[in-house]
Symmetry: C2
Subunit: 639 residues, 2 copies
Amino acid sequence: MSLQRLQALRALMSSQRPVLAAYIIPTADAHNSEYIDAADARREWISAFTGSAGTAVVTSSQALVWTDGRYYTQFEREVDLSAWTLMKQTLPDTPTLEKWLASNLKDGDVVGVDPQTMTRDEWTPIQTALKKISAQLVPISNNLVDDVRIELGDPAPKRSHNELAPLHVRYTGRTAGEKIAELRRKMAEKKASALVLTALDDIAYTLNLRGSDIEYNPVFFSYLIVMETNVVLYWGDGQLPPSVTDHLREEGVDSVEGKPYGDILEGLKEMARELSESGDGRHVIWLSNDANEAIHRAASGSDVLKRPIDLISEVSPVKLAKLVKNEIELQGFRNCHIKDGIAVVRFFRWLHDQIDGGEQITEVQASDKLLEFRRDEKDFMGPSFGTIAGSGANGAIIHYSPDREGQQTVIERDHMFLLDSGGQYRDGTTDITRTRHMSGNPTAEQRDAFTRVLKGQIMIGSALFPKGVKGNVLDSFARHALWEVGLDYGHGTGHGVGHYLNVHEGPSGVSWRPYPDDPGLNVGQILSNEPGFYKVGEYGIRHEDLIEIVAVDKGSDHPKAKNLRGDYDGRGVLGFSTLTLVPNQRECIDAEIMTDFEISYVNAYHRRVLDTLSPILKERGLLKDLEWLEGQCIPITRK
Amino acid sequence: MSLQRLQALRALMSSQRPVLAAYIIPTADAHNSEYIDAADARREWISAFTGSAGTAVVTSSQALVWTDGRYYTQFEREVDLSAWTLMKQTLPDTPTLEKWLASNLKDGDVVGVDPQTMTRDEWTPIQTALKKISAQLVPISNNLVDDVRIELGDPAPKRSHNELAPLHVRYTGRTAGEKIAELRRKMAEKKASALVLTALDDIAYTLNLRGSDIEYNPVFFSYLIVMETNVVLYWGDGQLPPSVTDHLREEGVDSVEGKPYGDILEGLKEMARELSESGDGRHVIWLSNDANEAIHRAASGSDVLKRPIDLISEVSPVKLAKLVKNEIELQGFRNCHIKDGIAVVRFFRWLHDQIDGGEQITEVQASDKLLEFRRDEKDFMGPSFGTIAGSGANGAIIHYSPDREGQQTVIERDHMFLLDSGGQYRDGTTDITRTRHMSGNPTAEQRDAFTRVLKGQIMIGSALFPKGVKGNVLDSFARHALWEVGLDYGHGTGHGVGHYLNVHEGPSGVSWRPYPDDPGLNVGQILSNEPGFYKVGEYGIRHEDLIEIVAVDKGSDHPKAKNLRGDYDGRGVLGFSTLTLVPNQRECIDAEIMTDFEISYVNAYHRRVLDTLSPILKERGLLKDLEWLEGQCIPITRK
């Protein structure tokens, strides 16, 4: 089947004028979304490879997919290897896509791509590499995979276009009108006549609207253009329902024009033309640097303009605004983590009970049960990502997700069980990983690794650091205790988290990889703190909390506050407060390799978990859960 | 006087066609050298500001210098403030040079600069900013400050052009012929017909020649072009003396052509033209990305070429080659650090003796005495940078250097004394900082800070980490113990060090600032390890060792070796071995805030210093020094 699809695509490539020597199919939608809708899953359809990351290139004789180490095994299982070649992009000898193109194409060759599926930052290096061999990269405005799907009678599913739900200011803390007024101030500083928002979470945040077009991310397909006196929302067929216009009016946004989602490129060209003809100076249009190539081209004006338009292509001001949570959002984060703590504690008590009682519980059943417990909590809207429930060796697969089809893995009593899950609540988003040994009898090696991961998490959680440093500077703290014995983990230590929005939110993070748009850490940001260790084929360990950045001075409630004798020459001292409220398994902690500080840190955290959750468990009459939690929170000590 | 110079420059700017609205005078030579020759000190001459960093901009009505926080006080002392404005570039409200130009110039204005004094990476953002306001940046090939100097009868001093000294393969470990053969292999991979070396230390390293044209850096003004079958050295008047040609022949470099230093731009244009006319494909010329704008323009061919030349502008392969020291170079580093340790130990014993005996020793006298001790050591060639000898409050001035003019500062018995110095030896380069309290009675606050800086140095020195990580990931380890109490230091933690070459050598370093060309840490690299703490107006503390990167496994002589139970999944474990051999002052160490590991680390280091140096001191009959050293190396303990 894959071969038939490839042949049809190749025929279409040959029928283009000029003929395409290669066609690139990224895993992407027009909004640079991390998770994509089925309507945008072109690389998956053409190659049959279902992994979340990868870029396909098809030429007349070859078909290749570049993807990373998470997916090598899966690729070979899913894909017709007689037609497709796997390019292992994490191996040093694998050429990059642009290098491969440069050495496999010839002078005059034309490479096509749907410019809506590539950001300008991705476009430019490919274009440069091709220019060197006198070949070129050209935008093909209709997506050829979509065309092939129609031709073969298997058209792409319709793009999701679900209802919008206003999010009340008691959750957001700031009206859409206030947010847009702030954007206009920033636009005035840059003399920008228009700001084009293309990231779906930027738009949802700005308008205090939520949707459900993409799984787990409460966003909706749209574009938003903010101008000096009006805003234009490209959404659906352009008809905004009264619930939306009423909400926006109540939030102080009077002049909202609806336009059809599909008209964005024409709309931008028209706007560029109108601006170029109005007034007597040059106009500036502000795009986000992750806007796609088609958006960049349209905003610069397709036809001859009276006066050229100046494009600013830099980090969206909404990304920087939503990075710093306001007091209402922070209160919501703290609150939803109490609810989430109750749900996860109830789940683990249930799971231990089942397994101790000899029940066979599969990873999928565990995930479903956890969802049930979360559903009991107020304002719970759904999971914030696909639950990773990995027992034994499955725990070592970093992006594992139990498959509902086929053979189910039972959570064994003598296994480590890694559970990474989260919830969307109207008042915030959670993301928590706990690892537990189901019989409480880990091996000495597992206990050592569990404790070193915990030491790393504590070194981050208890760190003090100057305001304004980038998240990268913290990453090695999380690895130190592992590095000391030759262990490490192959992922970053922390990501930003949206407020009832995407669970992975930029532009900051904690990793050895640079975050070029990180404006520096500041009070009110939310990060995850999630070191791990993975022994392939045996077990995986990860401890993940969400943490809030707080200002610390001598009087603060912070374990290191009283020793402070400076504030970094006036820059200010930052630290973290942990939001997540679920204990770590005592039986897996080796207090012998912990410092006094670390032991008291863990005990204080467990005390806080118990003090916060126990009145609620009592009030709800969940006395068995309370009793279990009390046992989990008994202080740890050295022998 | 400054005003007269400015007026002459402005007159010259007005006489240019087109007239220059602004002229930029960077602190730079044509080789992007860190230290510059007097012949290149144009910004200093025009502004009277002698700081090592800063960029001047002169317009018809304004004259400004952008410089950083180290120099604000000095600027105001040295410069005629009625004519010049200080732009404090480390303050967030100060516009960058390009922003200032964009808001102070108008449509059509022309800004001039000598393109030999600006790298392409510096040129491009200024050009882009000017384009936005329809102004332009143009290269002015004769330097206008040099012209003004001639006009005012104060011509720039002649550029240094000293003799060259071959460095024998018993020091370098690798002949020039082998080094050039390796470069040609790398050129072949990139299909480059020519590699243009412009950094002076790249050239000295490649040819195994040393010079003395720039203070402290044993380099010589030159350019080197490596082609497939010959090499061209632009040096002096182009006449290479027999000592040089003989040396190169002995080292397997047969075909060396000498050309006059001043002909480089014409030579590059000619080469580009010849290449464009030879063969039938396009030719590639490889430039270092820190080559200046004039070099970039010349290599791309000034006139109409038969076929365009493809320029590669990326990190020079010589930078990457000399970053990793070979076994002979490493042996030399270890050896010269023993000699340097002897010199520094003798100096400190002498200094304490003098001060305890009531002598008045100034910072300059101390620096001179230290040089005397170093001169006693074999193959010592001179200091590797200007000695920083800061007593009391002077120690808090990070780039302090005692002035020989005017009032001299005496090193007081109740002061902390910071001494940062180094030597060039034929077998290697040293760079060491020790901080001592001259009476051994620091305040509790000083002792705490001294110890925290030491804890940071130990956290780096004892770190284990995966091969290939960038130096940046280590930086926060050095700050951790300081950050815990709200203290920090305003400089990076480590820099690379050349082998009898520049004491600051790229492209790697340990800092929160990115090192974009860092290829990842690997065995055989040399770094400094130099955390500090500075209390302005009172004292400064810095502990600096040079450290060598070593591979570590369970059997290694490394304090953490025996605990290893992994090698980061095959990536390999790296750690450090300390080269510097001088004790830290015991009286300033507060063992109460150190861990058991840190105490035993310090004691083991002091043991090694004593074991290494004492046989030499004994053999030389330096028994008083030996006795003093023994006292310094007594193990520290908690109360």
